[in-house]
Structure formats: structure tokens, C-alpha cells
């Protein structure tokens, strides 16, 4: 306050503007303080621990020696064939999940955006209904659906295709993950498409564009922010998924998430588990950044 006294009554000087600017910034900071505090204590600090552990050594008894930092765990990432296989499988299944979600969600989000507002809100509720039930329980429900005596298998048998094995395969994992993460694709896509002026599509048709051309040249580029946000929101959790692969996948379809858990709980190799986690995070961060760069300004 006292710093402002000497400029009162004058036309806004750079000094005054500067003080004003500072005041604004400080006010914003206070608002964000609880979130900052929470993130630092419960997110940033544990992350630092993960990084520290990844440079430590596993001792003979399954404990961790923090003394004597080394890069052994990171070296193992490149020499251990199992890690390569699991990483490749995880990336592939996450990518597949993302693409399937995108293909299913896009037309639905577009359809939703063309409905009257009351219908839209009802549809939004339907999209979010699965969240009302525990994720774990829903995954077990999939186990029943995909099981040998499940409705899916019975249907194929009825059609004369014989009983099919779905459970404990990569197909089961992708089905489960698409189911689990689909709302994360629908919501940002809907938000992006709903904002687009429908008149632009009419203009595209008026200017001799076919339906497909209007989609490619007008709707798709304008909804890109939603496509990018939805893809990140599905790809990132798919890559690190633990619950779904654990329940629906088998021993032959192990993914990164499970492998990390194994390192901590069974192999009792915390440094290697930490290194794996850290690399996984780095991969996610890299894909996110690349995606954002490609999409220009988004979200």
C-alpha cells in the first residue's frame, strides 16, 4: 500500500503499472497455493524419491542401499530382453486402445453435439454412468462376459463357431481398456466439436465439398484439440494400466504396469522398479509434448 502512495493522482506511470502487475500476480498465487502445496508434498516429493531409488542398488536381502549411486538399473533396461518385449507390447496395446477409442468416440461425439441441449445432457450422463461403479468391480464383470461360459463365448458357440477363448488374451485387455477409457475420449471430443459453428460445415457443403471432404478439411482440423486431448487421456493411462491387464490378461500378456509391480513386490528390486517407472513417465511426457507440439495451441 505504502509503495502506491507516491503515485496516487498521477496518470498511470510504468512504475504504477508494475506495482499493479505485481499485485495481480501475487493475488493469483495465493489462490493457487493449496494446489501447489498438495502437488509438491504428494506428487513432486515422491517423484524425487523414485528418481533417487532408481540410482540405488539392491542388496542381497532385497533391501535397497542408497549409498554408491550407479546406472546399473538403467543399463538393465537395455539389456533385459523381457523389458523390451513388455514395453513393445504395452506401447502397441495402448496405441490400439487409443485408435479404437477415437474411431468409436468421434462419430458419437459429433452425433451428441447435433442433438438438442436437453438430450445432450442426458447423453453426457450416460457416458459418465460407468464411473459410478468401482473400476475393479467392472473389470471383474468383464471376466464373466469374456469367460468360457460367458455370453460372448456362448454366442459364438450357438453360431457354430465353437467356444472361443477371449479371457487372458491381448484382445481381452484391449476390450477392457477401450471400455474403461472410452469416456476420456468422448468428453474432450464432444467439448471440441460442440464449440464448432455448424454453419462452417454448411459453408463447406455449399462450396462443393462432399460430406467426407467437409469432414477432412473443416470438422477434423477444427476438432483437433479434442482429438489430441482425448488421445493423451486414453494413451497415457493405457500405457501404465495395471488393473485391467492384471484381471483380464494372462501371464503371457504381461504389461509394463504389472512388471513394475512385480519388481517392487516380488523381485524386491526397488531400484529397477523405480528406473522402469521413471522411463515410463519419460515416454509419456515425450509423447504428450510431441502431440501438443503437432497440434499447435490446444486445450
Amino acid at each position: 500500500m505504502t509503495t502506491l502512495d507516491h503515485v496516487v493522482g498521477e496518470v498511470a506511470t510504468p512504475e504504477f503499472e508494475h506495482a499493479n502487475e505485481q499485485l495481480k500476480r501475487r493475488r493469483g498465487f495465493l489462490m493457487a497455493l493449496p494446489a501447489y502445496a498438495y502437488l509438491v508434498v504428494f506428487f513432486a516429493l515422491p517423484l524425487v524419491f523414485v528418481v533417487i531409488y532408481s540410482f540405488a542398488t539392491r542388496n542381497r536381502f532385497g533391501g535397497t542401499d542408497l549409498a554408491g549411486w550407479n546406472l546399473d538399473s538403467y543399463q538393465r533396461l537395455f539389456t533385459d530382453d523381457l523389458v523390451g518385449t513388455i514395453l513393445a507390447r504395452s506401447l502397441w496395446l495402448a496405441l490400439l486402445t487409443t485408435v479404437i477409442c477415437l474411431v468409436i468416440a468421434y462419430p458419437f461425439a459429433y452425433y451428441m453435439s447435433t442433438r438438442p441441449e436437453s438430450v445432450r445432457n442426458l447423453m453426457l450422463v450416460f457416458v459418465m454412468i460407468p464411473f459410478w461403479t468401482n473400476f475393479l468391480v467392472r473389470n471383474y464383470a468383464w471376466r464373466v462376459i469374456l469367460g468360457t461360459d460367458g455370453p460372448l463365448s456362448q454366442t459364438t458357440e450357438f453360431l457354430g463357431l465353437g467356444p472361443q477363448k477371449y479371457l487372458f488374451t491381448s484382445t481381452a485387455i484391449v476390450l477392457g481398456m477401450v471400455y474403461g477409457f472410452l469416456p476420456f475420449m468422448v468428453l474432450p471430443l464432444y467439448a471440441a466439436i460442440e464449440r464448432i459453428d455448424h454453419g462452417l460445415l454448411e459453408a463447406a457443403r455449399d462450396l462443393y465439398g462432399t460430406g467426407v471432404q467437409s469432414f477432412r478439411h473443416v470438422l477434423l482440423p477444427l476438432s483437433m484439440p479434442g482429438v489430441i486431448a482425448g488421445s493423451i487421456l486414453v494413451f497415457v493411462p493405457s500405457l501404465g494400466a495395471y488393473v485391467t491387464p492384471e484381471i483380464l490378461g494372462g501371464a503371457k500378456t504381461k504389461l509394463l504396469g504389472s512388471h513394475i509391480v512385480t519388481q517392487f513386490l516380488e523381485a524386491r528390486n526397488w531400484p529397477f522398479g523405480a528406473a522402469l517407472s521413471f522411463v515410463l513417465m519419460a515416454v509419456m511426457l515425450a509423447t504428450t509434448i510431441i502431440y501438443f507440439r503437432k497440434g499447435g495451441r490446444t486445450l
Partner: protein, 359 residues
Amino acid sequence: MSDVTTGSAAVELRNVTKRFDEVVAVDAIDLTIADGEFFALLGPSGCGKTTTLRMIAGLEFPTEGSLKIFGDEVGTLPPNKRPVNTVFQNYALFPHMNVLDNVAFGLKMQGVDKHEARSRAQESIGLVQLGGMEKRRPSQLSGGQQQRVALARALVNEPKVLLLDEPLGALDLKLRQEMQSELKSLQQELGVSFVFVTHDQEEALTMSDRIAVMDKGELLQVGSPEQIYEHPANRFVADFIGQTNLLEGTVADHETVVLSNGTRIAAHSDLAAGSAVALSLRPERASLHSRGQDVTDGANVDGVVARVTYLGNALVYIVNLDWMEIEVRDENNPGADRFHEGDEVSVLWSTESVSVVTN
């Protein structure tokens, strides 16, 4: 009413009806728009003028009736298969493309060679005087400039009919007047039909060769600006186009109308005796005189000046006739009689100045 022969018809609507669920937006209209004509669809909001335009564009399909463009039935043909282009009300410019790509869009969609599309787009941008703006995004342009881009984007395709949906609505008065004369000369230069939707009767009068007046989905009158202003087909048209006084009455015979207060007025009509009508008297067609002056020709009613409004170029008098108020507009000429509040006056007009309109 002037009508055109089918041979030169750019757009022909026969008995076209458009229903949205149970709401009738356009009710069985017949309309023929000639090639090379500047045609206005005029009416208040919700009258069906925009729906009519959108049906010509292919953005809506008629529920019933026949719609032809240059003789070809186009009823349910999608917009991309019609030789027409639209300038949209909010311009609908593609925000993710620059001016050049916006304008070249239609050519690109038609598969025109890239270099040709570019040069034609550039030419079209020059036509609307936006040379040098090719690389700008729509968001970096003023409203008037966006309007020109929308125009260029439609015209570059050389449409046989250009459709304009309230294109000047968002512009301020001065810019609007400028664009009015520019559009008019552009249309004359290109020689293609412009079909223009507006709710602004002054705009329609200024620009159009012919005007179609619509209300509640119905076509009330089609004619030149002069025909519509001088001989309105009914009460709504008389009231909607320009200012007018409507004096209620009934037809006595073909040359006489009895006003609701019993005054007999000479006015020509072909209506049966006893028909309820109104006399439409334009404010500028009436004049004020001190009471008791000789009436040489025409008709007059007596009243008292209730209000005077000074407009600079004119004076507007509101005259109280006991049973209604009448507006009279006088040119502000030096030497002309000026009247004041409370003056007892006669309102005078010549017989051919009024038209008899039905409800």
C-alpha cells in the same frame, strides 16, 4: 404484377412448402426469379425468407413442391451439386485457413488445378478490394473485410445464382450503405442473379430489381420497389414497407371509401361494397393546411397538431383526428408554413396518393 417467362428463370419455386415437424415455415409459395436479377426476399424475422433461401441453396429440402434452378429440378440435391453459392449471415469463414485458402476452398473441392485455383482466388480477392490480405486469418480482419472475403469465396466459383443471407446485418450504418452500392454494381457487372434475404425494407428498396414480401411463411407480394411501395397488396405490406397511416373504413363503391368516423373519401378500388379496408396514406403524401382553406382536389380530414418533431431535413407532425392519430411529413423548406402544437389544421391529400388495402 411483373412476372418472367420460364425460359429465362434462374430459380423457379412451384407450390413449395417447408414444414419443421408441425410448424409450417414456408407455405405453398410460387416464385420465379429471372436470370440476372437482383431479387430481395423481405420480411420480419420468422417469416420464412431464410428457409426459402436455404432451400434454394440445398441446406434444407422442401417438404412439398418443385424447385428448379435453370430448368433442372433440384429438390433434394445436396448443396455441393447445385450451381449456387451462399454468403452466410455470420460469413462462416473457416477460422483455420487464411483468406486465400478460404477463397480457394470451393475450387479445391471441385478439383481445380492448384495453380489455377490460386490465381482465380487472387483475382476474386482483388475484385472485392482485399489485395494484400491473402495471408491473414479471418480473426485478423474487420467485420467489413470478413464480409468481402465471404463474397469473394462465393463468387470465385462463378455461381449461376448468388444467395446472400442478411449479409449486411452485422455492419454499421455507413459501411452498410457503402456495401449496398458496391453489391449492386458488382451484380450489374457480373450479370448473375443475386437473391438477397433482408428484414430491412430500406435496404430492399435501395438495391433490388424486384422484391418478394413474406410474412408467416406466405408470399404476400412480388414486384418492383415502386410497385410495392405505391401499390401494396395488403395492409401488412403497406405497413412493413416504409411508414404509413392506416385509416380504417369500408368500401361504399368503386370510387368511395367510408372511414370509420363516417367521412366519405374518394379512393379507387375494385372491391365489393361493404368490404372492410384501410386507406394507406404515406406521411410524405399528406400536407397540412390551416382549417377553412379551399380544397381544390383530393380529400381532407380535420384535426389538431399534437406533436411536432424536427428532423433537420423534414418536420414530422402528429395530428390528432379524435378517432386516430395521423403522421404527416413536410419537407423543411424556407417559406413553407410551420405549424405548432395545438394548431387546428386540415390534413390534405390527392386521390391518387392513397391506396386501399385489405387485411
